[in-house]
């Protein structure tokens, strides 16, 4: 027997022993097995292996298993709402949306208030500045030195200044 054929046949032996092959495949393996003592022995061992493996018995679930699963499912069910989604799965995006909208509204309001506040502050500053300037000017005028006699004489040469009153006629301020 060629090695390649041997390999192909060996891969089929368990399936053949377990009656898992298609009829045509099973026929070709049978033809070979009937002529090959080694493969016949292997098939017999596989058949015994199948029986031996049956000795590993299944273990039944504990009596409480069904109740446990039912309780777990009921617990999930109570948290479940539309289309199998949990309340948390539905509420989370809704809460997030509400939070985002609220934050945006608060932000916009604060920004608006800040703008208004800024505007009024500037107006007040301008008003305050104008008032201060006027007061300073008034003080300056009030504190203007009154011309004395000698000053008057010195300045009398100027035509316009000569018309200013003398020292005894001080501007009463």
């Amino acid at each position: 027997m060629m090695d390649q054929e041997k390999c192909w046949i060996r891969e089929q032996l368990f399936a053949y022993a377990s009656h898992l092959l298609e009829p045509r495949e099973a026929d070709s393996v049978r033809l070979h097995v009937e002529q090959c003592d080694e493969c016949l022995r292997i098939v017999a061992e596989f058949q015994r292996l199948d029986t031996v493996l049956d000795e590993w018995k299944a273990v039944a679930p504990s009596g409480a298993f069904g109740a446990r699963v039912r309780a777990a499912v009921a617990s999930r069910q109570s948290h479940t709402t539309f289309f199998g989604l949990r309340w948390t799965q539905v509420l989370a995006p809704v809460c997030l949306l509400v939070l985002m909208v609220t934050t945006s509204v608060i932000f916009l309001r604060v920004r608006k208030a800040h703008k208004l506040n800024n505007g009024s502050t500037q107006t007040t500053q301008i008003q305050n500045a104008s008032a201060g300037q006027a007061e300073e000017e008034l003080t300056l005028y009030q504190n203007l030195p009154v011309l004395e006699d000698e000053d008057y004489d010195m300045l009398a040469d100027f035509d316009v200044l000569s018309e200013l009153p003398r020292g005894d006629n001080k501007v009463a301020n």
């Binding site: 060996r10 891969e11 368990f14 399936a15 898992l20 292997i42 061992e45 596989f46 015994r48 292996l49 199948d50 031996v52 493996l53 000795e55 590993w56 018995k57 299944a58 273990v59 039944a60 679930p61 504990s62 298993f65 069904g66 446990r68 699963v69 039912r70 777990a72 499912v73 999930r76 069910q77 289309f83 199998g84």
Partner: protein, 193 residues
């Protein structure tokens, strides 16, 4: 036909029929727990994992599409959970506790069996050898053998469950059964220990 019944039941569950889910639970709980016990070798963990499978089935009921057999879907979830549990256990110190616990329970079993008949003790020893032979296979081969031999899942379904081709499953099973034949040779030749 069982396949059609499962599909029909699952379609009813999708529509909100909880009684159909109860029927599915009753039909599949024993094979599923048995599958997990063989895979993870711990009854408590096996039942936790089986419960998780049923919960996932229930949670995914609205998305369920009857494209394949119900059991293919069921065992796909189950096999993924089992392989993850085995991988986690291998990578954590808990694995040692698990082995110790198994050892203790084996010791208790042996102590019990001393009072029992010789036949029973011998049967336990044979079962232990078989279990160890299957457990010592690589994870995927182990899963394939348990699905094929003990759960009665066919090649095509195993291929879908493991996410490999059908020919890959044949090759996987061939190698697995060849290893088992070699490891269990004493049982095969002598028939009895």
């Amino acid at each position: 036909m069982a396949m059609d019944q499962d599909l029909e039941l699952m379609l009813r569950v999708r529509k909100g029929d909880s009684e159909s889910f109860e029927v599915l639970l009753c039909r599949h709980r024993a094979p599923l727990v048995s599958f997990f016990i063989r895979m993870v070798r711990d009854q408590a963990l096996a039942e936790d994992l089986a419960q998780e499978v049923f919960l996932r089935v229930y949670q995914a009921r609205h998305r369920y599409q009857p494209e394949a057999r119900f059991t293919t879907w069921l065992y796909r979830i189950a096999t993924n959970l089992a392989l993850n549990a085995i991988r986690d256990r291998k990578g954590s110190p808990a694995g040692l506790h698990f082995e110790n616990r198994e050892g203790e329970s084996e010791a208790a079993k042996v102590a019990d069996s001393q009072q029992a008949a010789d036949q029973q003790m011998m049967q336990r020893e044979r079962e232990r050898l078989i279990r160890h032979a299957v457990e010592s296979l690589p994870d995927k081969q182990c899963a394939a053998v348990i699905l094929h031999k003990y759960q009665g899942v066919d090649y095509r379904q195993i291929a879908r469950v493991l996410g490999v081709s059908e020919s890959a499953v044949k090759s996987l099973l061939f190698r697995a059964y060849e290893s088992l034949r070699a490891r269990l040779e004493p049982l095969l030749k002598e028939g009895r220990l």
